[in-house]
């Protein structure tokens, strides 16, 4: 054992920065956050133990429940739409059209810039009552509304902003589609499969690991969305808390009200929610993801 440990010394030296990081900036702070979540902590005081109080308070906090609802709607609507667009355009592009590289780059641009403050501010203008969208609608004689200032539509502008960034999963789909050998599709065609059948019965099952990968990634990302809601609602999550994303409410509690213990509890619940969804994905994935070693499902 001593000998093996001695042999390990060079490796440990290489790992030293990472080790300091994972202990000092990841595991340590995680445990510390967990401790804070059981306390009343306002940054300037010493944390005071309150047991499960923060957690029970969370579920009696109507704004917290509202933030959960907003976030679930956002994730539940934007992720499937984004994936559907990404897949549809990728399939369209994969037919050996000329100019593939150009289209791919153009469709990717929104993903590249979409997370920035600049785009969120642009969104705020476009969907404002005097904004670009209403100007365009005006050309057709349609009188638009204040899309961002009305609680019924504000969240939908944020959903649209995410769907607009379908280029990133599309690029991953395209790479996946290229891995599907032409012979398989040709064989299906010879067997009399039409365009739709080939897509549903051959392309999609062979692509399912990539679909799965994208889905997991997008869900995890969407749960943590912050910048657009923060910028567009001026940090408030309004109107009427209709864009109060989970992370935005966490931010307000931590850095607006300095309820650090409460915010830490929120963070841990978020971790649990994301873990459950990811786990659920993996369990459900077994029924529809095809890894090529179990024969094509019927």
């Amino acid at each position: 054992m001593i000998g093996r440990l001695r042999q390990s010394v060079p490796a440990y030296l290489f790992l030293l920065p990472w080790f300091v990081g994972i202990v000092g900036l990841t595991i340590g702070p995680m445990l510390l956050s967990l401790y804070y979540s059981f306390t009343d902590y306002a940054l300037l005081n010493t944390p005071e133990w309150t047991g499960l109080h923060n957690y029970t308070a969370l579920f009696q906090d109507s704004r917290y429940l509202q933030s959960l609802k907003v976030t679930f709607i956002y994730v539940g609507v934007s992720v499937p739409l984004e994936m559907a667009f990404a897949l549809a355009v990728a399939v369209l592009l994969n037919r050996g059209l000329k100019g593939l590289a150009v289209y791919r780059a153009l469709y990717y641009v929104p993903s590249l810039l979409g997370g920035s403050v600049a785009i969120a501010l642009l969104w705020q203008q476009i969907f404002g009552s005097d904004g670009l969208l209403n100007d365009v609608l005006g050309l057709f004689g349609i009188h638009g509304r204040g899309w961002i200032s009305e609680p019924g539509t504000a969240l939908w502008t944020l959903i649209l902003l995410r769907v607009w960034q379908f280029g990133a999963p599309m690029v991953i789909f395209l790479a996946g589609l290229r891995q599907i050998p032409d012979e398989v599709l040709e064989a299906a065609e010879v067997d009399g499969a039409g365009r739709w059948q080939r897509f549903w019965r051959v392309t999609l099952p062979l692509l399912s690991p990539v679909v799965f990968f994208n889905l997991v990634l997008q869900i995890i990302g969407a749960f943590q969305a912050f910048t657009p809601a923060f910028v567009i609602s001026g940090g408030k999550g309004g109107p009427s808390d209709s864009t109060l994303f989970y992370t935005l409410y966490l931010y307000q509690q931590a850095f607006g009200n300095f309820r650090m213990g409460y915010a830490a509890a929120m963070a841990w619940v978020l971790l649990l929610i994301i873990a459950v969804f990811t786990g659920l994905n993996f369990v459900l994935g077994r029924t529809w993801v095809f890894y090529g070693d179990e024969g094509v499902r019927r």
């Binding site: 900036l25 804070y36 289209y103």
Partner: protein
């Protein structure tokens, strides 16, 4: 015919998607009175006045914000390249006690939502007197905390033939020599991908810059931009769009130059 239709559809789609961006660029070239009620793309009275106005209207030159962002980005890129490659080399090539466990631990941190460490990190950085400095943004990158890049490099190093290591060992190289002379040079495609994504993510990273920076002269581009309308105390939309365009230019330039590598890197790893 089918092809023509497909091209027409794809071009129309791209145009609709990119229209807001194009419109923002032209809006930045319009006088303030002309921005609203003009959904078209051609400015009637093109002017660069918005750029001059926006550059100085927050009371601090926009050049300062750009410089601050650039300093943080450069430091993060260097930190990630250095420490992620050291870590990846050890995981991919060296044998040591606890390797499997530590590797699993590293992988687990990839998907970890940052909020679960946020509160405690903030209070730690506060005790270190790092609030309102660049350190909270920079130091983590020198401790290989971005496990995604470590994983990317581990995958890449595994594709480098081990025989090269053996040959170098026979020539008298130790672990450090192999890392320095064999792995690092061959790893350069993964290093470039890491550098590009580190830059773009850090440039756009709003959240940590928002919570850690407060003094006006220390603000970075996203934070300054978000406070723009408050700082100018007016609805200078033209100037705001002008500065928005300025903040997007570096990312677009990096994308145009490294387009192939970015899209290839995306396809392999699912980076965004």
């Amino acid at each position: 015919m089918r092809r023509v239709l497909a091209h027409a559809g794809l071009t129309a789609g791209a145009l609709i998607m990119l229209y807001p961006l194009l419109w923002m660029i032209t809006a930045s070239l319009r006088p303030n009175t002309e921005i609203f009620r003009h959904p078209g793309l051609i400015p009637e009275h093109p002017t660069l006045a918005n750029y001059a106005l926006g550059w100085s209207s927050t009371g601090t030159s926009f050049g300062i914000y750009l410089m601050n962002s650039l300093i943080i980005c450069a430091a993060v890129v260097i930190g990630n390249l250095l420490t992620c490659s050291l870590t990846a080399y050890a995981f991919a090539r060296l044998t040591f006690v606890g390797r499997k466990t530590l590797f699993a631990l590293m992988l687990a941190t990839i998907m970890l939502p940052g909020h679960v460490t946020l509160i405690a990190q903030y209070s730690i950085f506060r005790k270190l007197n790092w609030i309102d400095t660049f350190w909270p943004m920079i130091v983590p990158s020198f401790l290989a905390t971005d496990a995604f890049f470590v994983f990317l490099m581990v995958q890449f190093i595994r594709s480098i033939p081990v025989e090269l290591d053996d040959a170098a060992r026979i020539d008298g190289c130790g672990a450090w020599g192999i890392y320095r002379r064999i792995i690092l040079p061959l790893l350069s495609p993964a290093l470039v991908t890491t550098a590009i994504f580190s830059f773009i993510w850090t440039w756009n990273n709003f959240f940590s810059q928002l919570i850690y920076l407060s003094t006006r002269t220390r603000l970075t581009v996203p934070v300054a931009l978000r406070g723009f309308l408050d700082a100018t105390g007016s609805s200078e939309w033209g100037a705001l769009f002008a500065m928005s365009v300025v903040t997007l230019v570096p990312v677009v330039v990096v994308f145009v130059v490294f387009q192939r590598r970015i899209l290839a890197g995306m396809a392999h790893t699912g980076l965004k």
